[in-house]
Amino acid sequence: MSGYQTGLLVILSFNVIAAYAVYLPLSAGQLNLGIAGFMAMGAYTAAYLSNELAWPLTAAIPAGAAASCLLALVVAVPILRTHGIYLALATFALGQVITAVFLNLEVVGAAAGYQVTTFTGPATVIAGAAGVLAFMLLLSRTRFALYLTAIKSDPTVADLMGINVRGMQIAAFAIGAAIAGLGGGLYGHHFSFVEAQHFSVALSVYTVLYVLLGGTQTVFGPLVGAAFFTLLPELLRASQGWRYVFFALFIIGFMATRPQGLITADLLRVFRRSRRAPEAAQP
């Protein structure tokens, strides 16, 4: 594989991890517009642990994910009291605050950025993304995932069915944050550098954008969305500076004609049925 291809695959991996971090709470109807803040939490925690305390990578990166998850649990209680647009904006503000705090934290280099001494290669990043994907595929076959969709559809009925709506929402939010933290930890160790400016509003917002582009009805939507978002600008590379113009036009046109996203439940059902049909035909 060429360096270019590997580089692209690494970016795709980071985008896939971020996509699932956004997707999980979104499948319960909660829009997290501050995912970059949780990535920053994971990135800085992991970097600090491996730099200053000489933790091995295998401990530092999961610890970064855990720190991000913990932060989410702490803020979930007040933040998830808000709903809909208020929740989206609360997470938006939270993301900004987290990033700004790291921007001012001298112990991790503040605005100058933070060098990470341990390096991890593309293989780890790709394995991380594959791990997240496998985890999400497994999770999508559980009651938990079913309940999240049920809550998104109708929280009142879900509650009357005996489901702990708030508990499920907090869990989805916190697991999403842990995934974001994992992505952040991998990011810092792969690029050997963490700077708060990277974890911007744009990062959060673009992630949400390609998750919705892929579609939130099924677990494959975010994967397809991330792949699309990574690869389409590359395909448009020939158009140079204009590629994001075409990309944006595509997004607008796409959402106007197919607002439910690329991959929908019905689409998968049709696909499965057509695959099952020939088998059923055999005696």
Binding site: L139, T142, L146, Y147, A150, D154, D159, L160, G162, A265
Partner: protein, 254 residues
């Protein structure tokens, strides 16, 4: 019938702001005695359901399920003590398939942490799925198992809503207008379905406008008007009641 009380409303009242929609309402639904709650539009029937299921908190009075006071029990715990309901405007989860809706309906019987995180849908024909399919098959609906809910006809959705409400294994089932909007064939299927539930010992409490349907399904009738109980008894008895006749202006109940 001298069966034990399944549900008791004790001087129940509900006001929204200054508007009193229920006042001093007391009645008992006896176990395994299918009961109908009737009355003109706006009499407070659906409010009773919302209070009993915990969607609203009552302004005054108590609600007892069997012997147990559930007045202040959080709504989500009520299904675990044997209370289940359907909705007037069928509220199936539109993002889920039929079978997925039913699996959500099984929740109270599979609510451990392990049940929650087990990727059971990787196992072909897992017992939870099988059980849901069996429940569908009982009323001849198994063909719809993997359909998207939103695409199905009204009458089918209505019965799937009922199947879902039964899957929690509740002893008291509250149905809000089960026959409304159904054609004669669908109404017959619905009635057969309810007979099946009665045979299993489920106590039914039904809000319904179709008196023919009430007559066939229920043994007792409670009549509400303007948030108060105005009559109680068999359908024939309440139909003779002058208060009931005037509440209905002599048309429906006569």
């Amino acid at each position: 019938m001298s069966a034990a009380p399944a549900l008791t409303l004790d001087h129940l009242g509900k006001a929204f702001g200054g508007l009193r929609v229920l006042r001093d309402l007391s009645f008992t639904v006896r176990a395994q005695e299918p009961t109908a709650l009737i009355g003109p539009n706006g009499a407070g029937k659906t409010t009773v359901f919302n209070l009993v299921s915990g969607v609203y908190a009552p302004s005054e009075g108590r609600i007892l399920l069997g012997e147990r006071d559930i007045t202040h029990m959080p709504s989500r715990r009520r299904i675990a003590v044997g209370l289940s309901r359907s909705f007037q405007n069928i509220r199936l989860m539109s993002h889920l398939t039929v079978i997925e809706n039913l699996i959500v309906g099984q929740h109270v019987r599979a609510s451990g942490l392990l049940d929650l995180v087990k990727p059971f849908r990787l196992v072909p024909n897992h017992r939870w799925r099988r059980e849901a399919i069996d429940a569908l098959a009982e009323c001849g609906l198994e063909a719809y198992a993997d359909e998207s809910v939103s695409a199905l006809p009204y009458g089918i959705r209505k019965r799937i809503d009922l199947v879902r409400a039964t899957l929690a294994g509740a002893s008291l089932l509250m149905l809000d207008e089960p026959a409304a909007g159904l054609n004669p064939t669908e109404t017959n299927a619905m009635r057969a379905h309810l007979e099946l539930l009665k045979k299993r010992g489920v106590t039914l409490l039904i809000v319904e406008h179709d008196m023919h349907f009430v007559d066939q399904v229920c043994e007792r009738v409670i009549v509400l008007n303007f948030g108060e109980k105005i009559a109680e008894g068999t359908l024939a008895e309440v139909q003779r009641d002058p208060q009931v006749r005037s509440a209905y202006l002599g048309d429906e109940a006569a």
